[in-house]
Symmetry: C2
Amino acid sequence: MFFEKVVIAGIGLIGSSLARNLRRNRQAGIIAVCDKNPLYLQQAKALGLADEIETDIKKLVRDADLLVLATPVGAFGPLLKEAAPLLKRGSIVTDVGSVKKYALKEMEKYIDKESGIAVIGGHPVAGTEKSGPEAGFADLFRERWCILTPSKLSTPEALAKISEIWQAAGMRIETMTSEHHDKVMAAVSHLPHLIAYSIVGTVADLEGYEQKEIIKYSASGFRDFTRIAGSDPTMWRDILLNNKTTVLELIQRFVEDLIALERNIRWDEGDKLFDLFSRTQKIRKEVIEARQDQPEQEKRLQAELNNLKN
Amino acid sequence: MFFEKVVIAGIGLIGSSLARNLRRNRQAGIIAVCDKNPLYLQQAKALGLADEIETDIKKLVRDADLLVLATPVGAFGPLLKEAAPLLKRGSIVTDVGSVKKYALKEMEKYIDKESGIAVIGGHPVAGTEKSGPEAGFADLFRERWCILTPSKLSTPEALAKISEIWQAAGMRIETMTSEHHDKVMAAVSHLPHLIAYSIVGTVADLEGYEQKEIIKYSASGFRDFTRIAGSDPTMWRDILLNNKTTVLELIQRFVEDLIALERNIRWDEGDKLFDLFSRTQKIRKEVIEARQDQPEQEKRLQAELNNLKN
């Protein structure tokens, strides 16, 4: 797969990691980058990830073969409103957003059915809590799953092309409806992130505690939640507000279960605690067996270590 | 510091990592290990971590200079009931338990004031989710904090000796009351673990979801909770039941905050979400600045990598 010109809107962790792969795999002639943050644009240029940089997407998209939306999903609408009328027939628009129903809705709103532009929803399920072009790296996507959600504006050809891009980056592809995507992600990603944000807020605000001590002893558990709760605020605000119904349902379920656990503790029901904790230990084993257990940074160090040893 | 004979009761992650340090730092003549799991005893022997192994603690403690309790705290009472009458004057008993009020209470219950045995409560704040002697490693404790909680049975000499052991293992020492320890740990460790167990249980039980998909896409957030919820069930049952009052209070606080967040989502209060998520991002930065951010496995790989490069 080769695109003469790819425009990446949003050169953060995912956008820049994709750019690194497009370069490495020689899948793009020109990479043009749009971002509202001029510092990110300068960094992308300095890192050799961008041939053209602009804060104004209109100046980039006229001759693009592929437009990748890699901003927080809340920015998709405003960007497409400007970009869509300028895109040429035969070009493809895709995205990397973590909510797919809303993303497709925005794309379908601004892209005309008769325009000859194909739309493929995409979600490379990979990431770290870090943001910006300097945080990205080419191996981010390796051995992770990429979920593609076709829309009314999809074509088999466009789907195949987008699949090839992510496969070349090391991903395995799964195709599903945007509804199913959002339901699954609410459980495995959106609820966990929300809980992490919530608990870090709670612990940080506890009166009668010294903040210094909280940080000092954070390696005992709190630390792991701060990592998740260190993720990009705009991105996560947009995700949670745009997958609201399922997220709200899951919060209720979670609170119910937590209250039950609270009762187990209050009434000294150690056997019930032990049963739950044994079940969750088995689930951890399944995650390890599916080789999804290694955090990205660890995966990266491991790869470097293996390289040095061989 | 040198002990002629150290008895370690419980040769799991912490016990075996301590044994590795005692060997490396030549701080023990004989290391004798007691565990109710015969496999762990065999592994400890095979790893060179134990000179004597027994499932019966009575066979080991008679000539011990130091007894380290490294089992789940629920086993402290039964073990001390048997061991305490056999310990010699001038010996020291310490532990590595994650709750200190209960641990000291158990130690003070079985060790006579007139026995000439000193008691120091200890909590090396380090660990991974893994269990057993093969999961331990000498560098586990490096650059982490060890909290010592003196008791009525403590002496300055015993405190100094136990400090030296942990310092030699790379730890920084902090001394505080058992009450304060349990209050801080409830917030930074016990509540986070409970929440992780709870959410993994909730997500795993969701009807209408395929378990396979939950595991498959777990790298998007859920994975990190399964890591914490993969911790030893017995150990965590004992911790939560023995720091009940504070833990129950904190669950209430957490639920209140989560419900507020739920309302923010329901009423589209994006600015409030953004404010919280920005605050938690700052807290993450503080954790990084305090150099408590690196998970143990990552720290380990980094050290190995640095060694190979130099």
